[in-house]
């Protein structure tokens, strides 16, 4: 497993470089939006990756509450952290694109608002993990993750009542997309998923090490007390 990490890292770097080349030079220019449309190849894959990671977090949280496995908790922590990073990329690239195309930085549209609230919930999740230093942190965090997951559909419906401005989803929605653009988008998504997986892997290793050190330290101090 240890040896697989550098191999995957090199492959991911190559894939990201290739995806960048495809997005910048190969993908056809969008007729009305121009060059700024190319941010789409970063915005959409980041969004998919973030939502995937938040789903992983929810599943890991439920598994933790049922089985009380420390591994599930570490996975929940890691996926939430990396998910927040990708969600931040989505929230930053969106307005950069929206300003020239819509003429406004931000609007209270259904997808924008849901993503923002999801981001807020997961930031509060990370704050909770940071601020509670008892051994019960995993339990509290898992409960909060479930509350967050219950909240998201309600946010969605509350905004659904307003008019929506965001472009329709390009896959499984009403929108249409040039097949060459779709090809570039999927390559970028693959590259981003690999990158996210790599980050999660590195962070997971770090987290396991941190826990081992903590355990060793508490064992050491116990030994000091008994002598």
């Amino acid at each position: 497993m240890k040896r697989a990490f550098p191999i995957l890292a090199v492959l991911t770097a190559l894939l990201l470089a290739y995806a960048f080349y495809e997005a910048m030079w190969v993908a056809p220019m969008e007729r009305t939006m121009g060059e700024v449309q190319r941010i789409f190849y970063y915005h959409v894959p980041s969004a998919w990756t973030a939502f995937l990671l938040f789903s992983v977090n929810l599943v890991a949280s439920v598994v933790y509450l049922v089985r009380r496995s420390a591994k599930a908790d570490a996975l929940a922590l890691v996926s939430a952290e990396v998910g927040v990073v990708f969600c931040t990329v989505v929230l930053v690239t969106g307005p950069i694109w929206a300003r020239p195309v819509w003429g406004i930085w931000w609007t209270w549209d259904i997808r924008l608002t849901t993503t923002l609230v999801l981001w807020l919930i997961y930031v509060s999740y990370l704050v909770l993990r940071k601020f509670s230093d008892s051994s019960q942190t995993p339990k509290l965090a898992a409960v909060l993750a479930i509350f967050g997951a219950l909240d998201v559909p309600l946010v969605y419906f509350s905004i659904w009542f307003f008019r929506t401005q965001h472009p329709q989803p390009v896959i499984g929605g009403g929108g249409s997309i040039d097949p060459r653009m779709l090809h570039v988008l999927l390559i970028n998504w693959l590259a981003f998923s690999c990158f996210a997986f790599l980050l999660c892997w590195a962070r997971y290793g770090l987290e396991s090490l941190r826990r081992e050190v903590e355990e060793a330290e508490s064992r050491e101090s116990l030994r000091g007390v008994s002598q």
């Binding site: 008892s134 019960q136 309600l154």
Partner: protein, 225 residues
Amino acid sequence: MSSLRSITLATLTKDIRLEWRSRDAINSMLFFSLLVVVIFSFSFDPNAEESREIAGGLIWVAFLFAAVVALNQTWARELRNQVLDAYRVSPAPANALFIAKALGNFLLVSLLEGVMAPLFMIFYNLRALGPAWELIPVAILGTWALVVNGTFFAAMSLRTRSREIMLPLLLFPISIPAVQSMVEATRIILSGDGSARFWIVLLLTYDVVFTTACLGLFGTILQAE
């Protein structure tokens, strides 16, 4: 079932009696929301038409902040003399404690709203153009939405450092759809354009979903130490 009801009632009457004798929470909440009302009316000074549009937002933001003051004190009382630890080892159902605390907070915040809402009407010269009686279900459902999650997250933040600040950080993101529904429903009723039914149903859904979640998970939170 009867033990659930009797323990809930006993805890609730104990809390009400304590609050009645000290009046700590209600006094600080009342004064706090009065300050918010006065500061808001300085800052905006709207005409009648504008105030119908913004009053819903102002009222509920003021109540949300005031509710946090009360919610933070919910469990502080039980930490003194290790009452919560005693509760944890007793065979009493955990949910009885939760329901009693949530109902206590609900009464407290409703009392606050009963006093402050007329004051708001006076300061902003409000008169509802829509069906005014619909404000009552909005107020009841909205208050319960804030209080049920607030009581739960207050119990959760007991285990954290600087817990007074932790509660709003946990409560506000989850409460966004509830706050939006309350504000929109109030705005629609005050300005009389359209029907607030969608928002009332959404609030009801929010209440049902989160009351169920709180009752299902409170035992886990209470036993966490």
